[in-house]
Structures are given as structure tokens and as C-alpha cells.
């Protein structure tokens, strides 16, 4: 899981795009159990990878990131109050930089 390029600045880059707060994630997995998309990486692993700044690993999750419904079912149960859907939206914006 930690084979990618470690980028401690990734969170800062994402915070320049908006209110990114994945560092609050405690990796409890409640969100993944609730998520209607049933994708094992969504959203717990995506939040962890982004919070750790593993840029290549985050890029490899492109399909999971664009599959998210932004429905916030996970958010209302997150014990750490992570703004999961907003974080996913910011990751999309970051992934698309220079592509549009």
C-alpha cells in the first residue's frame, strides 16, 4: 500500500482547492460499510491515501473517486466528522487539473 510517492504536500495542494480535511479520518471503516457503491476502497482507503499524501496511490483510485455519488450517506455516520463528499470532490478537481 505504501509503494507510491510520498507527498506530504498533497493535503496542502488540496486545501488550496477547498476545505480538505481527510487527516481527521481514524480509519474506522464505518463509511465503507455504509457506502451504497460497495467499492472496497471507497471511501476509507481513499481518505487514508489522500491524508498520507500518497499521490500515485490516489491517482490509481481514479475510478473509485469518480464513482462516488457524493450522497453523503457515509458522512452522517462518520465519528470523526470528516467531510468525505467534499474531499472526494476536491480530489476530482485535483485529478482533472491540466486535463480540461
Amino acid at each position: 500500500m505504501t509503494s507510491g510517492v510520498l507527498d506530504p504536500g498533497l493535503s496542502d495542494k488540496l486545501r488550496q482547492l477547498g476545505a480538505f480535511d481527510a487527516e481527521r479520518c481514524m480509519s474506522c471503516g464505518i463509511c465503507t460499510a455504509i457506502c451504497p457503491m460497495g467499492i472496497s476502497t471507497l471511501p476509507r482507503r481513499v481518505m487514508r491515501l489522500a491524508a498520507l499524501g500518497l499521490e500515485d496511490e490516489v491517482r490509481a483510485q481514479r475510478e473509485a473517486i469518480f464513482s462516488c455519488l457524493l450522497c453523503r450517506a457515509c458522512e452522517v455516520s462518520c465519528p470523526a466528522g470528516v467531510h468525505i463528499a467534499d474531499n472526494v470532490r476536491l480530489l476530482r478537481s485535483w485529478l482533472l487539473r491540466g486535463e480540461l
Binding site: L17, G18, P36, M37, G38, R62, E63, F66, S67, C68, L69, L70, C71, R72, A73, E75, V76, R89, L90, L91, R92, S93, W94, L95, L96, E99, L100
Partner: protein, 343 residues
């Protein structure tokens, strides 16, 4: 092969930049619903449709075309499609719904206008300046195009002296109420869903509808905008027996629509699960979002009926069937018709 996120979001962002909507239709088509209503132009309070309901029949046509082409051919063509769409508005060329298809969705903004009039609310309409609010492009991360579009709409509000916008769908409500204040400095337009406005008014009820229905909450209304009690209050006042599905209110289960433009089979799986949950309560379901309406109908494939909340409220308020379009019994058209991918 999945569609290219870059090309799909690129087409949507290009359209927003060049033509003011992710799926541009002519202003004549977008405002047709209001042509016999003599609504005043502009004013301090406006009914803002964001053209969401009016776009649905065009989306349905595009989806049928996509289904004919198939995902892998479409994926190969998507880069070319983006380049062509920059020159010619592809929606106007390929998406041509029949009048009956348009009328079904045009009826919703007309219903809402009549309900507000019956409740004694004074409002105007911006006609060709009533623009799509940019929700899909925002959700997919096309931030620069959306920020410019938000400034354009804020400029329209300023030019018309608009102080309050009454919205008719959750996505436009969310953009205008919760997103635009973050994107446009000094933006201070008051935004309320028509359901909130009607729940605070004295909407007359001339005939109780007297029917059992199951309610489907929109994720955006329930979890982002906290519009939960207003629709229940209005439906109960209209005489409906409102059943709650397994997941409802702030715990509602998504219709799958937001994934439809990129991953239609995943979206269908989510919608099918929701149809099962709803079907356990009643055969008739009330929706309050055009995206939920088309996705759930498509997944149900005629096993249940889905109608917009405005149809029930107007039926009770007028005391007649005058406002209602065809009310499909479960298992009959239009619920069984091929329906939309919700771009």
C-alpha cells in the same frame, strides 16, 4: 471500457463555458412551460428552475443514442465528440425529444408556479436568464468553469434586482444556497426550495387525495439542505398516507443518478436496491428531484409508479385532476419506457 472522465467532464465544462449549460437547449424550449402563465419578468423574488426538469427529455434521448452506440464505441468516440462539440452544439443536433416527452417534465415547473400562486406567493420569472446552475460540472470537479458560471448567474441576479430565489429541485437549491456563497464574493441572495416556501404558507387543500404512497428523500435535500419535514407536512396536509422506506430522512439511500454519466451499471445497481426498499412499502412512490425520478423509473422498469411531489400537491390544492398528467399504474408506461442517464 468505461467512458473517459477527462472527455466527459471536458464536454460538460466546454458547454458550461460556451453555452451556459452542461446540456444546452434553446431558451424557447427551456421557457416553453411558462408561455401561458403570464408570469412577470424578474422582480425581487423569482421562481428559479435552473432548467433541470426541462432538460430531462433531452437527456433521455442522449441516453438512448448512447445505448445504441454501446459503451466501448462511445469510449473510442469520446475524444472526437469533445472536439466536435466545441464547434457545434451536439445536444441540439442529436437530442430531439417528442412533444409528449417534453410536456411530462415541463409540467413540473408549471405545477410549482400554480402552487405558489394558489398559496398567495408573489414572484416573477427570469425567462431566458433562468440558467442551469452547474451542479453536475461542480460535482465532477470542473471548478474553474463552475466558478465563472456562478459569477455569471450572480450578475444576472444583480441586473434584475433579485433578492430571493425560489427553487424547484434539490441540486439547484444546493448550488444557489450552499455553493455560490463560497464561489462569489458578496453573494447574498436568499434561496428556498418551493417546498419550504409552501410549508410556511397557507396552501389551500380543496380535496384530500386519500392514497398510500412511499416517500423517497433526495440525498441532497435531506443531507445537504435539510429539507426533510416540509415535503412530509405538505403531503400529509394533502391527504396522503406517507409511508417511510427502510432508509429515509437523513439516512436516505441514493437513487444512483450521480454515477450515471460515467458508470451506468453501478448506478443501476444502486437504484435497483432502492426500488426494492421502496416497493416493500407501497406501489406508488413520491419523488422530489428529476434525477431521482428518471433513475428510479428506469430501475423499476414498470414494477412501481413514480410521480413528482408537485403533481400530488396540485391535485389536492385544485381539488381536481386538472393538473395531473397520466398517473401510471405500476407495470404500465411511462414508467416502463426507456429512461435517462442523468448528466
Amino acid at each position: 471500457m468505461p467512458l473517459s472522465t477527462r472527455d466527459v467532464v471536458g464536454v460538460l465544462a466546454d458547454n458550461l463555458r460556451l453555452r451556459g449549460s452542461v446540456l444546452p437547449i434553446s431558451s424557447r424550449r427551456a421557457t416553453r412551460w411558462a408561455r401561458d402563465l403570464s408570469l412577470p419578468r424578474g422582480g425581487e423574488t423569482v421562481l428559479y428552475t435552473g432548467t433541470m426538469y426541462q432538460l430531462i427529455p433531452y437527456i433521455e434521448r442522449l441516453v438512448r443514442l448512447e445505448e445504441l452506440l454501446g459503451d466501448s464505441r462511445l469510449a473510442r468516440l469520446s475524444g472526437l465528440a469533445r472536439r466536435a462539440n466545441r464547434l457545434v452544439n451536439a445536444v441540439a443536433v442529436v437530442a430531439r425529444p417528442r412533444p409528449a416527452e417534453r410536456e411530462e417534465y415541463d409540467r413540473v415547473p408549471a405545477n410549482v408556479a400554480r402552487l405558489l400562486q394558489l398559496a398567495g406567493v408573489e414572484f416573477g420569472y427570469l425567462y431566458e436568464d433562468d440558467l442551469y446552475a452547474g451542479a453536475l460540472a461542480y460535482d465532477l470537479g470542473a471548478d474553474e468553469a463552475v466558478a465563472a458560471h456562478a459569477r455569471r448567474i450572480a450578475g444576472v441576479f444583480r441586473a434584475h434586482g433579485v433578492r430571493e430565489a425560489i427553487t424547484i429541485d434539490p441540486h439547484t437549491t444546493n448550488m444557489l444556497r450552499s455553493v455560490f456563497p463560497r464561489l462569489v464574493e458578496g453573494y447574498d441572495v436568499r434561496v428556498r426550495s418551493y417546498l419550504e416556501v409552501l410549508a410556511d404558507s397557507s396552501l389551500p387543500v380543496r380535496r384530500k387525495v386519500g392514497r398510500g404512497v412511499v416517500i423517497h428523500d433526495s440525498c441532497v435535500y435531506a443531507r445537504a439542505e435539510h429539507v426533510i419535514e416540509a415535503p412530509r407536512h405538505l403531503l400529509e396536509a394533502a391527504g396522503l398516507d406517507v409511508g417511510e422506506p427502510e432508509r429515509s430522512r437523513a439516512a436516505t439511500w441514493c437513487c444512483g443518478g450521480p454515477a450515471e454519466s460515467l458508470y451506468p451499471s453501478k448506478a443501476l445497481a444502486v437504484a435497483s436496491k432502492r426500488v426494492e426498499q421502496l416497493g416493500e412499502v407501497a406501489a406508488d412512490c413520491v419523488t422530489m428531484c428529476p434525477i431521482c425520478l428518471v433513475n428510479l423509473r428506469k430501475a423499476a422498469n414498470g414494477r412501481m409508479s413514480f410521480r413528482d411531489i408537485s403533481e400530488y400537491l396540485l391535485e389536492a390544492s385544485l381539488g381536481s385532476d386538472e393538473a395531473r398528467g397520466p398517473s401510471p399504474a405500476p407495470g404500465t408506461a411511462p414508467a416502463a419506457a426507456p429512461l435517462a442517464r442523468t448528466w
